[in-house]
């Protein structure tokens, strides 16, 4: 009887997680605010007459968003770049994405955050032997004065043999620091090793979707 009681107490303790709680502390995550957005969208349901029409329209809209050909995935969580279709991965490369670091201009107070933007993009242009037009932050970071002439901003030696632009000044390009591939060390662009960069330049047509997460 006593043993049964002890077992019962121990089990009750386990039920509330108190006696043998798991060692690692869990991370509690609050429901994201986006859930409220979905509730609000779903609360506006069309009337019975329009429902079939609306379903047809949604099917069409969704169909349009399916990638029709191979696409690039940049996984900034693991620093990998993939060239793939819905069913298969054709190419996988280690890359470097944005560090997430911040820089503030001590004079103007202007702030930069060096992250690779997430979202859906497309390859806009492909460049051979690209030159880097150094933005203001590149000089501020080095403690140098920002030049007034455009010529003083150009650097032909840092972007590798090719660059593939995917919008807003972000590129997939080469690097002088291949040993750092796999680490989040860039200022927002996606860096690749020279062989991988050549593959992407040769195989990826302009217009290809770029999905960055």
């Amino acid at each position: 009887m006593k043993i049964a009681l002890i077992v019962l107490i121990v089990l009750a303790g386990l039920m509330v997680g108190g006696v043998f709680a798991l060692a690692e502390k869990p991370v509690t995550i609050a429901p994201p605010e986006t859930l409220a957005h979905f509730d609000s969208v779903l609360s506006v349901k069309p009337g019975e007459k329009d429902l079939a029409k609306e379903v047809k329209r949604l099917r069409k809209d969704i169909e349009k968003t399916i990638p029709k050909s191979k696409y690039i995935v940049i996984d900034s969580q693991t620093n990998h770049a993939y060239y793939r279709s819905a069913d298969s991965v054709f190419y996988k490369a280690v890359c470097s994405t944005g560090s997430g670091g911040e820089l503030t201009d001590p004079k103007s107070g202007k702030k930069w955050v060096f992250h690779t933007p997430s979202g859906v993009f497309a390859i806009k242009n492909k460049i051979v032997e690209p030159w880097w037009r150094k933005p203001d932050w590149a000089f501020i970071e080095e403690g140098e004065a920002v030049p007034t002439s455009n010529a003083d901003r150009l650097d032909p030696n840092v972007m590798g043999d090719y660059a593939l632009g995917f919008g807003d000044g972000y590129f997939i390009h080469g690097t002088l620091y291949e040993r750092l591939l796999g680490m989040s060390v860039s200022h927002g662009c996606v860096r690749l090793g020279s062989d991988d960069l050549k593959f992407f330049y040769d195989k990826v047509p302009i217009g290809t979707g770029v999905y960055v997460l």
Binding site: L11, L14, M15, G17, F20, L22, E24, K25, P26, V27, T28, I29, P31, P32, T34, L35, H37, F38, V41, L42, K45, P46, E48, L51, A52, E54, V55, L58, R59, D61, I62, T65, I66, P67, Y71, V73, D75, Q77, T78, N79, H80, R84, A86, S88, V89, S99, G100, G101, S118, G119, V120, L180, G182, M183, S184, V185, G209, Y211, V212, L213
Partner: protein
């Protein structure tokens, strides 16, 4: 009333009931499809990664826009996730989107040695923690109104037996009495790392039941 008329009336009433029920079922099905498509459309527009548990394809997929980032089953040599059984434990049936309530990192290993991080962080004047990406070797996911999933990462293509500590087994067994089911899956390290980090950042889970 003659027996013939009674029979006729009964058959007529039955056919009307069936037609009404059939009409209701069609309307319900259309309404469910509208909810499913509206949710999917909004997820696509969100431009953030989301997890899809699809009963039809029996797969767990990470998507961004309408593109597949990865499908858990496509990495070979790993234990298959019983997606249909997992889906059954998301309640209520009418809900399509779920969020994660809790993540518990059971075991992890650093991706880069401290010596390398020290050199790089000094050269770049950056906090080494910004450069480090711990690889979650094992972690647990618990969804709001959903099950628990224990994810074990393994070196690619090398299936290993999942070792669950006795204490944890007991915990799961007891939780079963409260209706919380638990599942286990093995996957490669990249998928495990991405899954852990996107869920930590609040990614939603879209449950497609049919």
């Amino acid at each position: 009333m003659s027996s013939k008329s009674a029979l006729f009336l009964a058959v007529f009433a039955l056919s009307q009931c069936t037609a009404l029920a059939g009409g209701d079922a069609a309307a319900d099905s259309l309404s469910r499809e509208w909810m499913l498509l509206t949710t999917q459309n909004e997820l696509i527009k969100l431009n953030k990664p989301y997890l899809v548990l699809d009963a039809k394809s029996d797969a767990m997929t990470l998507k961004l826009g309408n593109a597949i980032v990865w499908t858990m089953q496509e990495d070979s040599g790993t234990a298959k996730l019983p997606v249909r059984s997992v889906i059954e434990d998301f309640q209520p049936d009418s809900t399509l989107l779920y969020s994660v309530e809790m993540l518990r990192l059971m075991e992890y290993e650093p991706r880069f040695p401290d010596t390398l991080l020290e050199i790089v962080s000094k050269a770049m004047d950056m906090d080494p923690s910004l450069l480090q990406r711990e690889i979650p070797v094992a972690f647990e996911i618990k969804w709001y109104n959903g099950p628990r999933l224990l994810v074990h990462s393994t070196p690619e293509g090398t299936p290993v037996k999942i070792e669950v500590p006795f204490r944890q087994k007991l915990h799961y067994w007891l939780e079963g009495f409260r209706g919380v089911e638990h599942f286990e899956v093995q996957t490669n390290r990249e998928i495990a790392l991405t899954l852990y980090r996107i869920l930590k950042n609040g990614a939603l889970t879209f449950v497609v039941r049919s």
